[in-house]
C-alpha cells in the first residue's frame, strides 16, 4: 500500500456570507497516495477549489480531519500553517501568480527568502528550477515580457524551488490556448513521473484527465466516483 500523502476524513466546510451559511463540502473522505497525479473535476460550485484549498493548507475545515504528509494541518494555527506551506506545498494558480515588479528569477526566489540559504545557494536553486521548466534563458525577463504559457512555467518553477512533496494547482491551464495548455500539462506529468511529485490539479479541461493518473469528480460538495 503506497504511503498516503493526503488523508481527508469526514471533512465539512461551511462558509458564512453575512447571515447566510453555505455548506460547500459535506462529510468528504478521500485518500491520495504519494506520487499520485489527480485531476479534480466538476461543475462550478461543486466545491473543488474549496477542497484544494483545504489540502493546500490555504483554509481550514469546519469539521473533520485533514492530514497531509503525516501532519494534521487542520490543527495548525495560521502562523504554523504558513510555515508548513513554505516547506511542504507548491501552488500554481490560474491568475496573479507572479509579482509584476520582479523578474522570473526574482519570482522563483521568493519562497527561498523564507529559508536560511545564502544568496549564492538561492541563486543555484533558482537556476535549477528554471532549468527544469525549460525557461533558463528567460530568467531576467519580467512577467509582462513573457507569454501566458511562460508565466505559468515560472509559477511552476517557483512552486518547485523549495522542493515540496506536494504540488497543488487551481486551473493552471484555464487561461491558455490548447497547445500551450498541453505543454503545461506535459510538464506536470514529467514532474510527477520523473521527479516523484504528488500533484493535484483542479481543472475544467477534459484533456487534463489524459495526463493525470486518475480523475475525481465532485458535485455539490461530494465525491461522485473514484475512477482509475
Amino acid at each position: 500500500m503506497p504511503e498516503s500523502m493526503v488523508e481527508i476524513r469526514n471533512v465539512t466546510k461551511v462558509y458564512e456570507r453575512g447571515q447566510q451559511k453555505i455548506e460547500v463540502l459535506h462529510g468528504l473522505t478521500l485518500d491520495i497516495p504519494k506520487g499520485d497525479f489527480v485531476a479534480l473535476m466538476g461543475p462550478s460550485g461543486s466545491g473543488k477549489t474549496t477542497l484544494l484549498n483545504l489540502i493546500g493548507g490555504l483554509d481550514q475545515p469546519t469539521a473533520g480531519e485533514v492530514k497531509v504528509g503525516g501532519s494534521r494541518i487542520d490543527r495548525l494555527s495560521s502562523g504554523e500553517l504558513a510555515r508548513w506551506r513554505a516547506h511542504n506545498v507548491g501552488f500554481v494558480f490560474q491568475f496573479y501568480n507572479l509579482m509584476p515588479v520582479l523578474t522570473a528569477e526574482g519570482n522563483v526566489e521568493l519562497p527561498l527568502l523564507l529559508t536560511k540559504l545564502s544568496a549564492a545557494q538561492r541563486r543555484k536553486n533558482v537556476a535549477v528550477a528554471l532549468q527544469v521548466v525549460g525557461l533558463a534563458d528567460r530568467a531576467r525577463h519580467k512577467p509582462r515580457e513573457l507569454s501566458g504559457g511562460q508565466e505559468q512555467r515560472v509559477a511552476i518553477a517557483r512552486a518547485l524551488v523549495s522542493d515540496p512533496q506536494l504540488l497543488v494547482c487551481d486551473e493552471p491551464t484555464g487561461d491558455l490556448d490548447r497547445k500551450t495548455a498541453d505543454e503545461i500539462l506535459g510538464l506536470l506529468q514529467v514532474l510527477n513521473r520523473e521527479h516523484g511529485k504528488t500533484i493535484i490539479i483542479v481543472t475544467h479541461d477534459p484533456k487534463a484527465a489524459e495526463f493525470a493518473r486518475r480523475t475525481l469528480h465532485l458535485e455539490k460538495g461530494q465525491l461522485l466516483e473514484q475512477a482509475a
Binding site: A82, F95, Y96, N97, M99, V101, L110, A119, S162
Partner: protein, 385 residues
C-alpha cells in the same frame, strides 16, 4: 534579491505615482527643515556663555540709559567676576544701513567676552587709541572694511559736539568667534566709550547694558535677584537676567514665532499624511491578490504587514532625508548670501526631530494599509478576480 530589494521593487510598481508622492514628501520636509531652523534661531542663544553671562538693563526698557556709577556696585556683588558696559550707538553705515554698534570699555569687553578671538596687539590698539573701533569679521567682510582704514559711521541718536551726526573711527582690530555658534554672531562694531562720552553732544557717563561675568553659572538666578533688589525703588531700577533669557524675551516681543511655525507645519504635514496615506492605501488595494499569493508561499500575516510598513518607511525615509538635505543645502546658500548672518541650515537637533517625524509619518500612513494586508484571507483574495 533580498527582502529589502523586494520592498523597494514594489515601491516602483507605479513609477510615476511613487515619484510624485516622493516629491511631495521632499517638499514637506524641505519646509520642515527650513522652518524648524528659523524657530531654532529665534529660540537659540543658549550657548554656554549665554547661560552664564548676565545682562543688566534699566527695568522698563533697555532704551533707557543707566549711570556708569552703578558699575562698581555691580562688581562688588559676590559671585560677579567682571563687569563690562555697552552703550547703543545707533550706528548707521553709508546712507541707511543700520549697524549693531556699541560704545564700550575695550579691556572690560575682552574680559567679559571670552568667546572673542582677536590678536593681543589689536586689543591693545583698541584700548590705547581713542578713536579706535573694532568690528566682527562678518561685518568687516560684508562692508569691505580693512584694518587701518578710517571708517565713517554716523549715529542716528548722538551728534558730535559740533552738532554733526557723522562720526569716523580707526579700524584697529577684527575679531572672530571661538566656535561655529559664536562665529555667526561676529557682526558687531565696538567703539571706545571714553572717546564717545567726551565727544558727543548729550549724556555723559551712561550706558545701556551692563554685562556681568560670573564665577559660577549656577548662581545666575540668585545674583540676578540680588542686583535687582539693590536698585529697587531707586530712580534707576534694574532688570537683570541671563543673556539667554534676554534674547528669548526679545524674540518674544517680536512675536510668537514658534506658534506660527507650528501652525504652518501642522497644515503641511496634515496634507502630506493624506497624500502619502492615499498612495499607500491605493498601492495595497491594487495588490491584494499578490499579497495573498505571498501568503500561499508561506509568508506569515506578520511578514506581509512588515512588507507594507517597510514600504511606507522606505518612501517616507527617502523623501524625508532628501527634503532635509535640500533644506541643509538651501540654508547653506542663504547663509552664504547673507554673509553668515542667517544660519538657516538645519542643525543636528532639527535633523533628529526630522528623523523622528519620518518614523512617525511612516507608521501613520502605513499602519492601516499594513493591517489590511495582514488581515486579508488568502481564499477570499484569490477568489475575487
Amino acid at each position: 534579491m533580498t527582502k529589502s530589494s523586494f520592498v523597494i521593487a514594489n515601491l516602483f510598481r507605479k513609477r510615476t505615482r511613487t515619484i510624485l508622492t516622493l516629491l511631495s514628501v521632499i517638499m514637506a520636509f524641505l519646509l520642515f527643515g527650513l522652518l524648524q531652523s528659523v524657530n531654532s534661531i529665534f529660540s537659540a542663544g543658549a550657548s554656554f556663555v549665554g547661560a552664564t553671562r548676565l545682562v543688566t538693563q534699566a527695568r522698563v526698557s533697555f532704551t533707557q540709559p543707566l549711570p556708569l556709577s552703578m558699575l562698581p556696585k555691580l562688581e562688588a556683588v559676590p559671585g560677579v567676576v567682571r563687569v563690562s558696559h555697552s552703550q547703543w550707538f545707533g550706528g548707521v553705515w553709508q546712507e541707511n544701513t543700520p549697524l549693531i554698534a556699541f560704545a564700550v570699555d575695550p579691556l572690560r569687553l575682552r574680559d567679559v567676552h571670552a568667546e572673542f578671538v582677536m590678536p593681543d596687539a589689536q586689543w591693545q590698539a583698541f584700548a590705547n587709541t581713542r578713536t579706535a573701533m573694532i568690528a566682527g569679521k562678518l561685518a568687516a567682510e560684508k562692508y569691505g572694511w580693512k584694518l587701518g582704514q578710517k571708517i565713517p559711521i554716523s549715529s542716528n541718536i548722538y551728534p558730535q559736539k559740533n552738532g554733526s551726526k557723522a562720526w569716523a573711527f580707526d579700524l584697529v582690530g577684527i575679531y572672530d568667534g571661538k566656535d561655529d555658534a559664536t562665529k555667526g554672531l561676529a557682526s558687531t562694531v565696538y567703539i571706545n566709550h571714553d572717546y564717545f562720552d567726551e565727544a558727543n553732544l548729550f549724556g555723559k557717563g551712561r550706558t545701556n547694558f551692563f554685562l556681568l561675568k560670573l564665577a559660577d553659572g549656577n548662581q545666575a538666578e540668585a545674583i540676578s535677584k540680588t542686583i535687582d533688589a539693590m536698585f529697587e525703588n531707586s530712580p534707576d531700577e534694574t532688570k537683570t537676567q541671563t543673556e539667554k533669557d534676554f534674547n528669548l524675551g526679545f524674540v518674544k516681543q517680536i512675536g510668537d514665532i514658534g506658534l506660527i511655525v507650528r501652525w504652518i507645519l501642522f497644515a503641511v504635514f496634515f496634507t502630506l499624511l493624506l497624500v502619502v496615506g492615499n498612495t499607500m492605501a491605493q498601492s495595497v488595494r491594487e495588490r491584494v491578490p499578490e499579497l495573498a499569493v505571498l501568503k500561499t508561499l508561506g509568508y506569515s500575516d506578520g511578514a506581509v504587514l512588515g512588507f507594507v510598513l517597510a514600504e511606507a518607511f522606505a518612501l517616507c525615509l527617502s523623501g524625508g532625508l532628501l527634503g532635509l538635505l535640500l533644506a541643509t543645502f538651501a540654508g547653506a546658500l542663504v547663509e552664504q548670501g547673507s554673509g553668515g548672518q542667517f544660519r538657516l541650515s538645519p542643525d543636528l537637533k532639527v535633523w533628529l526631530i526630522g528623523v523622528a517625524a519620518i518614523v512617525l509619518m511612516s507608521v501613520a500612513v502605513g499602519l492601516l494599509p499594513a493591517l489590511r494586508a495582514q488581515r486579508l484571507k488568502i481564499v477570499d483574495a484569490l477568489a475575487g478576480h
